[in-house]
Amino acid sequence: MNELQLSRVQQIWLMSALVISCAPICYFLPFWVAASSLGAIGWRAYLLSRGHAEPNRWVMFLLSVILGLGILAQFSPPVGIEPMSSILTAAAGLKFLEMSRRRESQLLIYLCLFISAIQPIFAQNFGSFLLAVFSIVVVLTAQSMLQRDTDQQFSLFNFSMEPIRQILRLVAVSIPLTLVIFVLAPRLPAFSVIPVQIESATTGVSDFMDPGSISSLSNSSEVAFRVDFEAEVPPARELYWRGLVLDDFDGRAWEPEGRRWIRDNASIIWPNRATSFDWRSETERYGEPHRYTVFLEPTQETWLFALPAAASTKESIGAARNLVLTNRIPISQPTKYDVVSHPQYRHQPNRLDGPQLRDNLDFSEGSNPRTEALIAEWVEQSGSDSVLPNLLSLFNQEFVYTMEPPVYPGNAVDEFIFDGLRGFCEHFASATAAILRMAGIPARVVAGYQGGEIHPTEGYLIVHQYNAHAWVEYWEQGVGWTRVDPTAAVAPDRIEYGFEQYFLNDDVFDPSLFSLDRFRGMALFEWVRLQVDSLNYRWLTLVLGYDTSIQFDLFKRLLGDVTPIRLVLVLVVILAALLAIYLIWNRYNTHRKLSEQQKILRAYLRQLRGLGISIMPAMTLQDILDEAGQKFPNQRANLANLTSQIEQMLYQMRSIDREHLKREIKALKLG
């Protein structure tokens, strides 16, 4: 024992609770916050093991000031989830360092519980959920250990599962109520309104495309989004998930017109809101639409991905004039949205207005002189209509699709077309759009994803980050915007069979080291990877996807009409049912725990009561025998025999033929 009055076991539990609850969120916080917290814990552990007291209060003061200033410097302004979590994590470490009284450990437990509860704000997949539950179990166990006398030295040999089992029981008991609250309580869009800026978040699609400066494309196998189609999944060559349109070209790089164009432009149409400029008549949709639901992983951006000619009725989703969908606020949480897409459509078939025409023809004249000269030559020879077929056949014959292209530092398109001849989708898309513009054809680059992996058993589509893609749309009088994918001309299989198939046996494909994708091709790992994904998918659809509208539909299906009275009634009925289940279970449990002896005794007493003999609490078996013998004198001998057998069983602890006794009791008929 030291001056903390916590035993070694309790200290270890407390430390584990701290580390386990803080670790998952540390991943999302600045490195030094995690390090300082861990350092504080380690320091204290060292002091405790040496029997030293906590550092003096000036040291603590200094440390607090330093950490506080660090957090202020890191986050400006210091508001939001990240600074708050950083403060909590740092504070937990410092508290452990300065803890000098036993009751302070309680404060630490509360801190740990709170930190465990924020974990789901940072990551929402099923694994994170399990991790949060695990850390809550550990923290609660630590709490229960603090209340116990644990004098024994910690060692793995006397490690007892009993406290953990107890906490697991408690957690298990809380599950039914949690489910009821989950299903019935009003769904707050809580997470989606908390702005979480996670710097480490990556996406395969960005709103700035400068292919010439990239020499190697990292291929993350992380999931970008999953899609649940109402009908069959369309063939891979049709799966062009449009995310954002890049139409501002500076000679090298592409970005959306005016960068914040989407957000600022008044032409975005929001459901249930008046719009000053309704461009919807510019689009003609026909044919059979695809109906599907997208479960998008956080991107920290507002753009949404959908098949072309998409429309969504979700309140927070707007449609831009270039037919991309956009969310009102950045996607910082897994988000679900329903889309209806018409694969057959015509967009702006008749005319482009002045600014549009101007923007989509701007190729930043003079920035790629060699290409400009070539295209001018082509146009002169066989007209502008031949430029695209010429270009695609050129790509097909002389260009190479590679993930490790050379850097094109100068006139990017020139160098790609004339010198390098190697590139990936962005190079081809960029060059194609630029060249079409040079030929006087309005064109733009579209960034998004192409293809996806169909889950073999669940049937939904998984779109990975390595499915990120860029392609081109050009405008034709009478037809409107048409998609052309130059990459398909270079590497048709990339589009037809998907990215992974294309690179499967290629050394270039090097998915992240820790991913299960590494083991692709090994049947077992493949199976595990798909099972994990389908677990995550179910979690997304069932838990995270359970929103107000689904809740309302559910109520409607169950109740017919949704009124407050009915809701309250349902709640009351369910709670009553839960209570009843608990009581029955409790009763069953006590009965199960009754010994065989007690059961026999109960049967005997029940039998006698049934025969009209009143049994007072203080009556012994002999008293009962007297009572019954008086009432039924002719049965006295029989009763005396039974009494003596039961007495022998209960008091003499003699083993008797219980089955025989049970039968005799059952056969007891008096009078």
């Binding site: 002896q597 007690q598 005794l601 109960r602 007493l605 007072m616 609490p617 203080a618 009556m619 012994t620 078996l621 002999q622 008293d623 007495e647 209960l650 008091y651 003499q652 602890m653």
Partner: protein
């Protein structure tokens, strides 16, 4: 040495005849006689509380006669000193040394009549001897003979000039009983019969002290099942939480109850305890250890008997 409880017949017989023998001089008091013997077997001491003339002394001397124990009687008075009881050191003229002269406490069965008449000092000397089973004089401990059994009496009604035993001292007595009046038939027999004092000399020894010691050893071997212990615990718990008594029963009180129940089972010819045994002894064991909350006095036997009616025996 016979030490298994399974061969009880001979003991049952001798215990039975001891009760019968004593009842020759004490009519209609079989219950009281059995309780006294039970207390003796449980190696405890007995406190008899009643009016004079109800047969306390007769009971004590009859037990002495029947068991063949070395029996002494001391009348406690207010001027009695501890040395009058325990003995004192005296100069032996021939040897020139101090020699310890044993007092009346050096016996096997001591009747301490009207214990509350003596000063607390003397009372505590006796109680110490009861507890320690030895007497200390001039720094030398003198062991008392075994078995050592004290029957103390006190008159609970005329309290003028008495020193009532405090609770802690009362706790030293395993049981407290009262004699009570005989019923009319027994009364008639007493009135018509000959003088009990004359009969006393005719009593035979039916249970010698060696046999008594063996029986005392057997008591601890009487089986006490979990079910019975559950009942005992419910009784103990009831005294603590019910609000009927100022204090609950101490663990020592609980142990006393178990020990007496075992002795009672033995007297009843069984080698295992039943709740009937517990009920038979609970009032004498608990009565003087409980203070009635409403009256502020010690719980009477009747009150305890009444109280246990609310405690579940079978708890099913």
């Amino acid at each position: 040495m016979l030490s298994t409880v399974d061969s009880l017949d001979s003991f049952e017989e001798s215990l039975g005849s001891a009760v019968a023998e004593i009842s020759r001089v004490l009519y209609g008091k079989n219950e009281t006689i059995k309780l006294s013997l039970c207390c003796l077997l449980a190696r405890g001491h007995l406190l008899i509380e009643d009016l004079p003339g109800l047969g306390k002394t007769t009971l004590a001397s009859a037990i002495g006669k029947v068991t063949g124990l070395d029996y002494r009687r001391v009348q406690f008075t207010s001027d009695m000193l501890p040395a009058d009881l325990t003995g004192f050191s005296m100069l032996d003229k021939e040897s020139g040394k101090f020699e310890f002269q044993q007092g009346p406490v050096f016996c096997q069965l001591l009747l301490a009549d009207e214990i509350n008449r003596s000063s607390p000092k003397t009372q505590s000397a006796l109680l110490e001897a009861m507890e320690e089973r030895q007497v200390s004089a001039d720094g030398i401990s003198h062991s008392l003979p075994a078995p050592f059994f004290v029957i103390a009496t006190q008159n609970p009604f005329s309290l003028a000039g008495t020193f009532p035993l405090p609770e802690s001292q009362l706790d030293r007595f395993l049981m407290r009983i009262s004699m009570g009046y005989p019923d009319s038939a027994d009364e008639r027999q007493i009135l018509s019969g000959s003088d009990p004092r004359a009969l006393m000399d005719q009593l035979n020894i039916v249970l010698d002290s060696a046999e008594l010691v063996r029986l005392q050893e057997l008591v601890s071997q009487v089986k006490t099942s979990e079910v019975v212990l559950d009942y005992v615990q419910r009784l103990i718990e009831g005294t603590r939480v019910g609000g009927d008594f100022v204090h609950g029963i101490s663990p020592r009180g609980g142990m006393a109850l178990v020990q007496c129940s075992r002795a009672w089972a033995l007297i009843s010819g069984r080698n295992y305890v039943t709740p009937d045994d517990v009920q038979a002894v609970v009032a004498p064991v608990f009565g003087h250890r409980l203070t009635n909350r409403s009256s502020g006095s010690q719980a009477s036997l009747e009150m305890v008997k009444e109280w246990i009616q609310q405690v579940d025996v079978l708890a099913s």
